[in-house]
């Protein structure tokens, strides 16, 4: 397939004199398992924000499935199959887990704007949401309010909501961030069992996770791409070791 699932061409973003993204040419293939790594302040989350439309670029283009979406606002890009999770949980804290996912599914199905039919009678939206929770193993928390859950479980809900959107491209922003070690393995397994057709881009600091999941890695430093390659190539690259204080463990 000549079209990438996600592509950026010459993406740049500056705030006055401060350049946070510089000529980023990036390509994510369909079904990819791709990781974006880099030291703090490298601009990884900024990149995600530029891709999703939360931030508009100073220059450059964003393409989704070959189509230019640079001018589209966030919500419209979601409709075209782009979903993301946030570095810090961004959920409907006062609503139940089931409802959180149901809202996403309702939007995807285009029934979320209906004014008069009761939500409960929505054609299977609630059932589909429950099934999604079952697949992630959090169905038992279905009617608990999100704010009552431990942080690690909330992280899983965050992923469930993103998957509920049935995306073609999934951006996971530090999915294991803030999750205690014991629970993070569940997150890793969840990501590993994501459907193969989804193109997944993970931003992570946890090298262990990166090497377990990623088939390709891009290294971002100070807003521009330093190097891109397979995990072995990246692990062996001396420039990457230089950029990090420690050395990444090879898988």
């Amino acid at each position: 397939m000549s079209e990438g699932a996600l592509e950026t061409r010459g993406l740049c973003k500056s705030f006055g004199a401060l350049t946070v993204a510089s000529e980023i040419d990036f390509r994510l293939e369909p079904g990819a398992r791709h990781a974006l790594i880099g030291p703090n302040g490298a601009g990884k989350t900024t990149f995600v924000n530029l891709v999703t439309g939360a931030l508009s670029p100073s220059r450059g283009r964003v393409l989704l499935g070959g189509e230019d979406v640079t001018a589209l606002p966030q919500a419209r890009r979601v409709k075209r199959g782009l979903a993301r999770t946030f570095q810090i949980n961004t959920l409907f804290r006062g609503l139940s887990v089931l409802e959180n996912v149901a809202l996403a599914i309702g939007e995807r199905r285009g029934v979320a704007g209906q004014l008069f039919r009761p939500a409960g009678r929505r054609s299977g939206v609630v059932e589909e949401a429950y099934a999604a929770l079952e697949r992630l193993g959090i169905a038992e928390d279905a009617d608990r309010l999100v704010r009552e859950l431990p942080y690690g479980r909330q992280r899983l809900v965050e992923i469930a909501v993103a998957i509920g959107l049935d995306p073609k491209v999934l951006l996971l922003d530090e999915p294991a961030a803030g999750v205690p070690g014991a629970e993070s393995s569940i997150i890793v397994e969840t990501i590993q069992s994501l459907p193969a057709e989804i193109a997944v881009l993970i931003i992570e600091h946890d090298m262990d996770l990166v090497f377990r999941i990623a088939r390709r890695i891009t290294v971002l430093v100070q807003g521009s791409i330093l190097v891109e390659g397979t995990p072995e190539e990246i692990a062996a690259d001396p420039r990457v070791r230089e950029v990090y204080l420690g050395e990444p463990e090879p898988a």
Partner: protein, 332 residues
């Protein structure tokens, strides 16, 4: 033999969400009480009508504030526009009340849609300010447009024809009360349906996290403007009811005081619960009727302290306290 808990029935979570909209017996309570009051307190129907009208006003606010999370200090703009629309129509010969209501609602809705499109792009203090400013602008406009609105003296000579040609407005306010009650009932049906609909649920989503709503592809502005326009329409209908039952409209209907008090009444009852208006408004207005004239200083201070307590306690008003009491009772 599988027990009930193991039977392959719908999981309780799905059932709960699917059946949330079903009518419960307790929901008949407000209407029973309202009808009972009609027969039990025939001398107080004027106050009763005012209370019903304010409940409608607060109900409309609940849609945008309680469910949508939009803090507005300018909802009186729509109330007042509705009141003046109905009043001006009547003064110029259009005395049929039901169509007057519809016209008022339509004008208020239009105003809501236009201002919503402009204002709801902003947030926080800016949005709060703009709701205030728009309401003040309209009040100034009404003040100056004396030939239409009667200016500071108010709009007089609002005469209303009998409803459906049958029910004349009488001095005992019997017709007024039942008129307001029926309109409130219909409005309640509408708001209740909206609140339980996917649209209504997405409003709660917007209230809980706008960022998340954008990230699930929701057209946030469109939803908010729609809700704002509907709320405006209902506020306008409430205002029109006031004009028609009082047969007089003063500038007070557009005042910051009216915008502020309706927010207070709703919060005291409990916002975002559909019934907060039904609890908060009667409590506030009855207390005000009894206390405010005799002890104005204590009344103001009391309300002030109550507001501070609610804000500090972050309680959801009386309904929240009621829920808490019920939960404690159940645990025994």
């Amino acid at each position: 033999m599988t027990t009930l808990a193991e039977a392959p029935a719908t999981p309780s979570a799905i059932a709960a969400l699917s059946r949330r909209h079903r009518l419960r017996l307790s929901e008949a309570l407000p209407w029973v009480i309202a009808l009972a009051c009609f027969f039990a307190f025939p001398e107080y129907l004027a106050l009763g009508t005012q209370i019903l009208i304010s409940i409608l006003f607060a109900l409309s606010l609940d849609l945008i504030l309680g469910y949508g999370g939009i803090v507005t200090l300018g909802q009186a703009a729509f109330f007042g526009v509705g009141a003046y629309t109905a009043g001006i129509l009547a003064v110029h010969g259009w005395t049929e009340p039901l169509s007057g209501l519809v016209a008022a609602g339509a004008v208020a809705a239009a105003l809501g849609a236009v201002t919503g499109l402009i204002l709801l792009r902003t947030e926080g203090l800016t949005l709060l300010m703009l709701t205030l400013v728009v309401a003040e602008m309209i009040r100034e406009g009404a003040n100056k447009a004396g030939q239409w609105t009667g200016g500071a003296d108010g709009l007089q000579g609002v005469s209303i024809a009998p409803i459906l040609g049958l029910f004349r407005f009488d001095i005992y306010r019997r017709t007024s009360y039942l008129y307001a009650l029926v309109v409130l009932f219909l409005a309640w049906l509408v708001v209740r349906a909206i609140v339980h609909s996917p649209f209504g649920r997405s409003l709660t989503g917007i209230r809980e996290s706008v960022t998340r709503m954008h990230a699930i592809g929701s057209p946030v502005l469109r939803r908010l403007v729609t809700a704002y326009a509907i709320a405006a329409a209902l506020s306008g209908v409430a205002g029109a009811l006031l004009a028609q039952t009082e047969q007089f409209v003063s500038l007070e209907v557009l005042s910051f005081g009216r915008s502020g008090v309706v927010v207070i009444m709703l919060i005291l009852g409990g916002a975002g619960r559909l019934y907060g208006a039904f609890v908060g408004v009667p409590l506030y207005m009855l207390a005000q009727d009894q206390l405010a004239e005799q002890f104005p200083i204590y009344w103001s201070t009391g309300i002030g302290l109550l507001l501070i307590a609610v804000a500090l306690g972050a309680r959801g008003g009386v309904l929240d306290l009621w829920d808490g009491a019920l939960a404690r009772m159940r645990r025994r």
